[in-house]
């Protein structure tokens, strides 16, 4: 069994995700957004990039891609579904995760390593991590500013749907350690078997590229696969 990595026109992190999953012992295939049969897969990643050019709103057009029917079905069947960066935006637009991602507070694209504090291990992204761990992971986005209505934020927080927050290198969560203006420094959102994360764990799996802290997140994802009834 293996992971489907969905390619929308304009995606660009798909090869990196496949490389990372395979480096960690998983197996993954690229699937085109017009594919309508994911029966051979037990998990899905929506990778980063600029699906449909990010035109109109990021993720807005992608969520109508034919493959999304299968993504919904797998999500409903309990298969781990992970959206990274642009993939996170698609999951929000598709209603699989709450909230939206707005332009960064400073209206600039941000590409640099940031720190994330592990808030909970009850997610497909963090089950192999420890609460309080601080991870260094590259952020790479223009629309990474997570927001929702006050009610929704409240239910996200009380529901424990925030596995990772932006923090300082020592784990302090405050305005200074918030790179993009995300509400409550939210860097990832996870609801049972569906999760979205704004920074790129697949860019942090080898020390030679700067950090291997993303391994624990993708290993968590790989470990989360269960026998899904497809």
């Amino acid at each position: 069994m293996n992971t489907a990595v969905v390619v929308f026109p304009g995606s660009n992190c798909e090869h990196d995700v496949v490389y990372a999953l395979e480096t960690l012992g998983g197996s993954a295939d690229l699937v085109w957004h017009r594919d309508t049969d994911l029966s051979g897969y037990d998990s899905v990643v929506l990778p980063g990039g600029f699906a449909h050019g990010d035109y109109l709103r990021t993720g807005a057009i992608a969520r109508f891609s034919p493959v999304m029917g299968e993504v919904n079905r797998l999500a409903a069947a309990g298969a781990p579904v992970l959206g990274i960066c642009n993939g996170f935006q698609v999951l929000c637009e598709a209603g699989l995760l709450p909230g939206v991602l707005l332009q960064n507070r400073d209206l600039k694209f941000i590409c640099r390593p940031i720190h994330l504090r592990v808030e909970s291990t009850d997610s497909i992204l963090t089950r192999a991590a420890r609460v309080g761990d601080v991870l260094e992971i590259p952020l790479n986005s223009y629309e990474g500013n997570y927001t929702a209505s006050a009610d929704e934020i409240a239910s996200i927080e009380t529901g424990g749907y925030v596995p990772l927050r932006y923090s300082s290198s020592t784990g302090t969560v405050d305005t200074d350690s918030n790179p993009n203006g995300s509400t409550n420094n939210i860097a990832a959102v996870s609801k049972s078997n569906v999760a979205g994360i704004m920074p790129h764990p697949e860019r942090a799996i080898e020390e030679i590229l700067g950090s291997a802290d993303g391994r624990v997140l993708l290993e968590s994802f790989l470990q989360s696969r269960v026998a899904v009834n497809v």
Binding site: P9, G10, N12, C13, H15, D16, Y19, A20, W32, G49, F50, H52, G53, D54, Y55, K108, F109, I110, C111, R112, P138, N140, Y142, H200, E202, R203, E206, I208, L209
Partner: protein, 733 residues
């Protein structure tokens, strides 16, 4: 356009050139033909002022697969791998509209690379503006960086390095150059050839509109003056999403062997993409403009032929493969139309509305283009400039000057720029922006590619020949410090108005200086670009060549020298010529004294080569964790940058304060661990490179010590603060 002006003049053609066209055709050209000749013979497309001199560059080496003349240079990396590289300017479009000008510059250089069959894997931008205290220059910087980011990030090619500099001469004419590198397996190489008669031409990508008609070519072939506004409607809008699909579609076509040749549509649009491949193949071509997919109704033949609509490619396909090619295009959701057939003979025949509107020898558009031997002469002011030097009676306050230099936007931290660029995509970036150069691994091999791009307009203004040579040595040294052997050069020659004899002189001198350095180092020039007419209201920019050097590390060192690896207890050594005592053209004189004069120190061919060999050997043998060349700002800045990156202090003895700020070439500052002293000394001695033991790293202050003047120091934190704010503080409100 004045009512009485003949059409050829309105299109920027001289009467002589018009006469040549009439002679060539033995009749007056049609409107469509005139349009084609005018764009193809523009300075931008024909290199008419520069072509006679570019032949000076050395262009051959056993590893050169494709030299200048094709869309990009291609070199052999061994084991079946090839690299394609090219650099382009988008200076004028970026002044008119900074975001779109820079964005379409990125789009254009990418097409040059994937036209060759290579996947573009990285970009570098070299950008220059007037001083940041002028809001307009801030607006230009903001827009250009956003444009590079907006296009490069979205198209999915990382921008892994570049340069940013500020100087008064660029205020009316910013420079925006972009370099691209691609890699491929050798069987994927494709050339811009039309193939044999019967081959079908298929136009792929965006629809053709009126946007950018005469844009890049006309803009880049004329100077700015008060009337520039009238050129404004020619702004082209980039669509990175379309380009991304086009890249993937083309790479699939190459993978499946479905094309005979490919040509991108850049400046001169369809005129170029039909005539050049036919000329290269020695064929003719029938082209049907009615088949071109268009964005606007009612375009004339001339407009269709001149349009510079972005994100288009012409594929040449065997008739039996046409359906497969159209299917690939449809899979990637791009438009495609069959627009032509390659014919025997040499006639390019173009029809529109079922009538032949142009019929001319295909090769005449490129090969019969005029070659000018413009007047050149040493500027009358040069001698005065050389003798205009400063005398220093008193040593300055070294740390105060250092802080001021570190806080200068041309010297300080460029991360405000590069943090807006995705510089990690593809998981190849071992060394990204913010170091000596960039190092990209090739996954699945032990190889890594190093690139550095460098320019120094002020030095080239003071002495174009020395400046040109020094740049090649600097870029090659940056690559060498990453453990890579320099192997090829691309260059972008940004100059003023070639109709002025001193500009042509600067141009010829620069080419000579660069050529000498390339010959000495054995690295060929495999491609480049010339941008003339960089002037505003008669004032030319400094002659500003940009050099990009590609190097190969095979195998790549496991642990690459970096600026941030200095530790307390390591020795601070300098490799290279001692006792540099020349501040001509230096950042010190510019920033502290507001002075530009004197004659910069030139290259030393023996030492220059030896220092590069030493750097490769030190990196390959992992003997020193830190190397950084002495360039802008001198040794004081080089040491400070290491201290800031490593967060450690340094103690340095100097004999003359001038030596701290001099920018003479071929010098490296290194952090040397005690256990490697002997090996490092022996290596330097074997190569004949002088070693100066200047001090050591440690503590939290950067201190400069002299037997007479005593010690002066500044904390690393304070230096870092000055350096970090150089651009950032000026760009945030």
């Amino acid at each position: 356009m004045s009512e009485t002006m003949p059409l050829h003049q309105a299109l920027g053609m001289t009467d002589d050139e018009y006469g040549t066209v009439c002679d060539l055709l033995s009749r007056p050209p049609t409107e469509a033909e005139l349009a084609m000749y005018s764009v193809m013979w523009s300075e931008h497309c024909s290199y008419k002022s520069s072509r006679a001199f570019l032949g000076r560059f050395p262009t051959t080496a056993p590893w050169v697969v494709v030299g200048p003349g094709e869309n990009a240079g291609v070199v052999d990396l061994g084991d079946g791998w090839l690299a394609a590289l090219r650099i382009e300017s988008h200076n004028h479009p970026s002044f008119v509209e900074p975001y779109q000008g820079a964005a379409t510059g990125v789009g254009g250089i990418l097409r040059d690379i994937f036209t060759m069959g290579a996947r573009p894997i990285a970009l570098w931008d070299q950008i220059r503006f007037g001083p940041l205290d002028d809001p307009h220059n801030r607006y230009l910087l903001e827009g250009v960086v956003a444009g590079v980011a907006g296009y490069g990030n979205a198209v999915g090619v990382p921008t892994v390095g570049g340069e940013v500099a500020f100087e008064e001469c660029y205020a009316g004419n910013p420079l925006v150059n972009v370099m691209c590198l691609g890699i491929m397996r050798e069987e994927q190489l494709v050339l811009g050839t039309a193939g044999t008669p019967g081959t079908i031409a298929i136009l792929l990508g965006s629809s053709t509109g009126r946007d950018g008609i005469g844009g890049a070519s006309v803009l880049a072939s004329a100077s700015f003056d008060a009337g520039s506004d009238t050129k404004r409607p020619t702004v082209q809008v980039g669509d990175p999403f379309e380009e991304k699909k086009l890249i993937e579609a083309c790479l699939e076509l190459y993978d499946r062997g479905l094309v005979v040749g490919v040509q991108d549509l850049g400046a001169a649009g369809l005129s170029c993409a039909t005539s050049e491949p036919a000329a290269r193949a020695g064929t003719g071509m029938d082209v049907n403009l009615d088949a071109v997919h268009v964005r606007e109704a009612g375009m004339t033949a001339a407009e269709l032929l001149m349009s510079e609509s972005q994100e288009r490619m012409m594929a040449f396909v065997h008739p039996s493969k046409v359906d497969e090619v159209l299917a690939v295009a449809s899979k990637w959701e791009i438009d495609a139309s069959v627009v032509g057939t390659v014919t025997a003979g040499d006639t390019l025949r173009i029809s529109h509305n079922n009538q032949v509107v142009a019929e001319l020898p295909a090769a005449s558009l490129s090969e019969a283009a005029p070659i000018l031997r413009r007047d050149s002469g040493e500027p009358f002011w040069l001698e005065d400039l050389w003798t205009n030097t400063l005398e220093y009676l008193q040593p300055p306050d070294i740390t105060r000057c250092l802080l001021e230099i570190l806080a200068d936007p041309s010297i300080g931290d460029p991360s405000w720029v590069y943090e807006q660029y995705d510089h990690q995509l593809f998981l190849n970036t071992v060394v990204g922006p913010g170091d000596n150069g960039s190092l990209l691994r090739i996954k699945g091999t032990n190889k890594a590619l190093a690139v550095s791009t460098d320019g120094n307009g002020r030095q080239c203004y003071l002495d174009p020949m020395r400046g040109g040579a020094n740049l090649v040595y600097e870029a090659a040294l940056n690559v060498a410090m990453l453990g890579a052997k320099p192997m090829a050069v691309v260059d972008n020659l940004n100059f003023g108005n070639p109709e002025k004899s001193e500009v042509m002189w600067q141009f010829i001198e620069t080419v000579e200086g660069m050529s000498q350095a390339c010959e000495n180092l054995g690295i060929p020039v495999v491609g480049g670009n010339v941008s003339f007419y960089n002037e505003t209201d008669e004032a030319d920019i400094y002659p500003t060549p940009i050099v990009g050097v590609l190097g190969l590390a095979d195998p790549a060192p496991r642990s690459v020298p970096r600026l941030n690896r200095a530790e307390a207890g390591m020795a601070l050594w300098m490799f290279g010529p001692k006792n540099s005592r020349n501040l001509a053209g230096s950042s010190f004189e510019k920033i502290i004294k507001g002075h530009v004069g004197g004659r910069p120190t030139g290259a030393d061919s023996t030492t220059g080569k030896a220092v590069i060999e030493l750097a490769v050997a030190l990196a390959q043998n992992e003997l020193v964790p830190v190397m950084h060349d002495i360039s802008d700002g001198g040794a004081a800045v080089t040491v400070s940058e290491i201290c800031i990156a490593s967060n450690v202090g340094a103690h340095l003895q100097y004999s003359s304060w001038i030596g701290l700020f001099a920018e003479a070439p071929h010098r490296i500052i290194a952090a040397v661990p005690p256990e490697h002293f002997t090996a490092v000394r022996r290596l330097a001695e074997d190569l004949g490179v002088p070693v100066s033991e200047l001090g050591e790293f440690g503590g939290d202050r950067i201190s400069f010590d002299n037997p007479v003047a005593g010690a002066t120091s500044v904390s690393v934190d304070k230096a870092a603060e000055a350096w970090r704010g150089a651009i950032r503080s000026r760009m945030s409100h």
